[in-house]
Symmetry: C2
Subunit: 391 residues, 2 copies
């Protein structure tokens, strides 16, 4: 093996995460403020940790149910009823080791070599990789920035669907743009998908992180569950990570047609063989007792958004939209050019870690992503350092 590892060409071709490139460049620098990843600086609430430890002591340390503990799946069904007003039966719910894992298992189940997935971009980059690992082809449909607002033209999405298209992927509220799709567009997409026999994968992990009540004041973003039937070819991805500061716990779930249950059962068996029982019990505690924490989290992010966006809006070279959801500022800097270079320069000169827009696919170059889920103090300090550099 003198010429590098002998691996699949599709894997060699996978680009390294550009976020990782910047993080590797900057990690360990004294005093650096890291705002490059999709997480804040609040640790998981103590009652969640305590629930995990208690569950270990209670014996949840053996092999467990592939699709998740029955009591967690029941609690997720109740959570959907309570929060989304959606009647999602336990038989439609599968617990996974993160939203990422739910996406990967779904792509393994659905995408054959040459199948195409139409993806609304810019979007967090792991989605592209999960398609390409299976030999699938990504077709990106970038949002347009119209009157300062990120906007999807559904007709462009439909035009991108051809004979090999197998799935439409929509992440809303969107990482990195904060773009949130409305109910009418969701309905049009579901109708189109039904007509064409396509799958829709809806990544809704930020759906509770909405500001000022969300688009319709309901306190959550519109969900594809609002416009679908249980038997629709719809997969809704969700996660405990962002709502309850559980990024490191690797716990998520997927809502799917009931018939997918046996498929996920197998795919989990053959990939991860399930999620630790005590991690699932921690998730159960978060669902049952975590609403006050989530409210605080949303408030913290709203404060963070306002600190960051106010500072950015004061800069003539910067264009930014104050997002209604998710916890990122995605902004462009006039004349800045290459976003990876700029992100590295910001590490060097401002000791702030940002994600380069080029990481997020078509429509992302020229932008930077800043995660504002951190403390007001931390964000204020970051902006004090950034503003002179971006002025």
């Amino acid at each position: 093996m003198t010429t590098g590892p002998d691996i699949r060409p599709a894997i060699t071709a996978l680009p390294n995460s550009l976020i990782g490139v910047v993080a590797n460049y900057g990690r360990g620098r004294d005093g650096l403020i890291p705002l490059w990843f999709g997480e804040g600086d609040v640790p998981t609430p103590g009652f969640v940790m305590d629930a995990a430890y208690q569950a270990m002591r209670d014996g949840h340390v053996f092999y467990t149910w592939q699709r998740g503990l029955p009591e967690l799946r029941d609690a997720l069904s109740a959570y959907h009823r309570r929060t989304y007003g959606a009647d999602v039966g336990t038989d439609r719910i599968t617990v996974t080791g993160s939203g990422m894992s739910a996406i990967a298992l779904s792509m393994q189940s659905l995408i054959d070599a040459g199948d195409e997935v139409v993806v609304v971009s810019p979007v967090w980059p792991n989605v592209f990789a999960s398609i390409r690992i299976m030999g699938g082809v990504v077709r990106q449909v970038p949002l347009a920035l119209e009157n300062g607002k990120w906007t999807l033209d559904p007709d462009r999405l439909f035009d991108a669907c051809g004979p090999r298209t197998r799935m439409i992927f929509v992440n809303s509220p969107c990482n990195p743009t904060g773009w949130t799709i409305g109910t009418d567009d969701q309905r049009r997409i579901m109708e189109f998908a039904r007509e064409r026999g396509l799958w829709v994968m809806a990544d809704e992990v930020y759906s509770r992180l909405v500001y000022d009540g969300g688009l319709d004041g309901s306190g959550r973003a519109p969900s594809f569950l609002d416009v679908s039937e249980p038997e629709d070819k719809l997969l809704v991805i969700n996660s405990f990570s962002k709502n309850w500061a559980m990024t490191g716990w690797r716990l998520g779930w997927v809502v799917a047609p009931a018939e997918m249950g046996q498929i996920y059962e197998k795919m989990i068996q053959f990939n991860t063989s399930g999620v630790p029982g005590f991690v699932q019990k921690a998730g159960l505690a978060a669902l049952e007792q975590g609403e006050p924490f989530l409210e605080e989290m949303v408030e913290r992010c709203r404060t963070g958004r306002d600190i960051v966006c106010s500072a950015l809006e004061s800069l003539p070279r910067v264009r930014v939209q104050r997002p209604d959801a998710a916890f990122y500022a995605f902004f462009s800097v006039e004349g800045a050019g290459d976003s990876l270079k700029l992100a590295k320069r910001i590490v060097d000169e401002a000791l702030v870690g940002l994600a380069p827009g080029a990481a997020f696919g078509d429509g992302g170059e020229g932008y930077l992503r800043l995660c504002f889920a951190s403390s007001p103090e931390c964000l204020s300090q970051a902006m004090e350092r950034l503003v002179p550099l971006l002025r």
Copy 2:
């Protein structure tokens, strides 16, 4: 979607685990003794749980290193030196969410549609599935039972390798047979693989569970690491599950050529995005303080083996080999026929849960697998129920 979920034909074709079929058939029956899965009845040691909880409290609840905490990878390197006398650098070690996950990520990296993997069987069935998910083709080479001992003919293995062969898979000590490959055969296989440019995947998760000191008295089974160079196309799969009663924790590792590091980094990012930091800290505690527990575990399994095998050996219709390693009795029952039917009958009539041999591929039909990692009391009771039925 009126005709079932519209998924990849390769996934539809994956059989359900026959172990799962029996477990679903028997689960929940009052008084049933479950010996069908590959785990015992001893919970994880308390100091491992405490280490996990302390790590949560110390903040290991955020996104972490894709390839594992540096301190855990260092400790695994030291463990290899201490236990295997192998000089395995940290750069060759990747932490994964179980041995299963290490296998799945490796297959994703290496197996293209149509690639063949030659697998020594009978073997635990998930391996077959991880190949087929990638469109790969399984070629089984069954062990022969010669003079009451499971035996591999390496020439049969080599004859099974053709132009599309990409990998040889060897699980030793073997689940379910307990078969343990010797150093000479390992050397022949490595030489053959080098010559043909093939990958070797060695599943060595039972390598510490050897009885009476193992084949050579070293207290561990021969490892492919003994007969290989760091740059060989060799992947050695390992796990915390069996050694330290951590089946439910989902923590394993893989030793690979250093150049595979960047590949695993990506594949983990795009599949699971890493293992919880606090689970890794628990693994670190197991490595550092877990040798006495492991010694007790081996002693417990040896006692279990002797209880089970003595009872089985007394039965004229039963053929069983007292295994030197792993924690399974794999035995045949004369005239019993279909192993799935027999396993269900044993559930019904003896309230004991066993795995049907047919689950383990070619050479497995006609056998039953019993996991003897449970308490002597539990196993004695199981044998009291089984003996009349198998007499």
